[in-house]
Subunit: 329 residues, 2 copies
């Protein structure tokens, strides 16, 4: 049976505000390089005032991923909460302009569309301070079962483990997907998320997921160990399939009976690492939904990640479909 969607993703609908900074700025603002921190409106206003002039672009981890799937020529749907405001219009436009199905009702109320203030150091590392706004107001009612039933893979953004109603939405979506015989994927998103919800995440992974995305630090945090190989074996025992990204060292695909180490694609100059993991997931799931071998799925992921870190902004600027063709994938 052909699915209507390769991937249906549920995530924080966020507009990114991206500006350059130096290491001294991160220190002065008490920010930890390479992480995502949740901030309230007051802190967002204060931090924004201190930031350099920037550019705005639709973001959100899972939003970036479905944009990547669409760029590969895949079919994607997105579920996430925006407000009926200008940034919400921008987010909606950018989704639909890429052919992504996006029909979540905007949140009516005082709060604004979520914003992530992203400070990028000269080494390309990004540090995100996210004011969720209405993004965290996602509820199980926002999960349209017909969308989940029609998707080969339902992809859940770990960041949404924070708001209780959004986590309920995950449980509903995973149940609908499994009942329809579809796969459930999740990204661990961030070491802070893993630290906050380790027990709950481990339970959810074991009970409800077929595919886990994590980077090296998130994986180590999940199993509270510095021993990468030990963490890999624990993850292998927990879920049927996982992909672990290791920055310039490529990625590791971990299945029950096989392991594939796939190198990273070379990048001339790393400009902004925002969205690297999101695009890796896009390539991997596009491949998986189209029946590709696991190592090719990882190569598609690496290719997409390499495209996005070579420029400012969290989504691909060129057709990943064309890029994959050129790369012989």
């Amino acid at each position: 049976m052909t699915s209507r969607f390769d991937v249906a993703a549920i995530g924080n609908a966020i507009v990114d505000v991206i500006a350059p900074c130096d290491e001294a700025f991160l220190e002065a603002q008490a920010l930890t390089s390479g992480t995502m921190m949740l901030i309230d409106g007051e802190r967002a206003a204060q931090l924004y005032a201190a930031m350099a002039a920037g550019v705005e672009a639709s973001g959100g981890s899972a939003g970036n991923t479905v944009a990547g799937v669409a760029s590969f020529g895949g079919k994607a749907a997105y579920i996430g909460k925006i407000a009926a405001d200008q940034l919400g219009e921008v987010f909606t436009h950018d989704m639909r302009a890429q052919g992504v199905h996006f029909a979540t009702a905007p949140f009516e109320g005082g709060e604004a569309t979520g914003r992530s203030l992203i400070n990028v150091t000269p080494d390309g590392q990004r540090t995100m301070s996210t004011h969720l706004g209405v993004a965290g107001q996602l509820t199980p009612d926002d999960v349209d079962p017909t969308v989940i039933e029609a998707a080969a893979i339902t992809y859940l953004e770990g960041y949404l483990f924070d708001p209780p109603s959004a986590r309920e939405a995950f449980v509903k979506a995973a149940g609908v997907a499994r009942a329809a015989g579809n796969k459930v994927a999740i990204t661990l998103s961030d070491v802070f998320v893993v630290d906050r919800w380790r027990t709950e995440l481990l339970d959810f992974l074991a009970a409800s997921t077929d595919l886990v995305f994590a980077n090296e630090n998130e994986l180590k945090a999940l199993f509270e160990t510095d021993d990468f190989d030990a963490a890999v074996e624990k993850l292998r025992a927990l879920v049927p399939l996982a992909a672990v990204t290791r920055s310039e060292h490529g990625s590791l695909v971990i299945a029950r009976d096989e392991t594939h180490a796939v190198p990273a694609y070379p990048v001339h100059k790393v400009v902004d690492t925002t969205g690297a993991g999101d695009q890796y997931a896009a390539g991997f799931m596009f491949g998986l939904a189209h029946g590709r071998a696991l190592d090719d799925c990882a190569r598609l992921g690496s290719l997409a990640a390499a495209e996005v870190i070579a420029h400012y902004g969290p989504r691909p600027l060129v057709s990943l479909k064309a890029l994959a063709k050129t790369a012989g994938l």
Copy 2:
């Protein structure tokens, strides 16, 4: 006497929405490549819906110019009308983050901050469809005489010749600047603007300006001729100083008794020509305000233009001060 500001600019406060397109898109949307067209809210919604996913960045011709002046290490002020909305906040932030004085009161009312929908073809050419929103609501009351009196050069954006109250603001600003012994500069902005207001523009140039910026097409349109050299001589007779930009052929500085042809800076790949003329004006006026020779002013302008066309977005991404130092300027 040292001025508090090198440049005080008055312009349409606009946020750019920049997306890639192909030539067929321009044709289908009845857009003329390389021009700026004013559109109403309904058309803006329709065009935006048809556009590809994009990025947002603070823009506006004169706004880009003062950002460039600040990037050179110059002191700048800006006068322009935003609404009290999210895009207005973005515009304000980006001005102040660069150290630009910006204190125009936001417009209170139903309309939104102005937006320019910019479609960029693969050759880097930009085609702008601008929904002015509240930007056109600028009035003489918004012109703070203390700012104009404190600026070595008052810079006027030709686009504001369209709304009558904004043109009155120009007349007021020019009067204040001249009375204070300061210079008045203007950019012709666009061939359509020149065609709409030729007589009025010619009168204003003769009566109230010390420095005119134009590109080749605007200059020819102003004097309704295809003879570039003839147009140059007419401009020389009209105003004390002018700088005419000729894309890859560099620029021509036209003073009463001297002419300087200055080549363009080489660019590896032209990505997006949005803001090229704005940055040329920034470099030229920064040089002029700092007592540089006219040919060096043109070189500073060419350098800034080369920086901005090598990437997406209308404002410099690197320090023009540092760039000028590296270039021996």
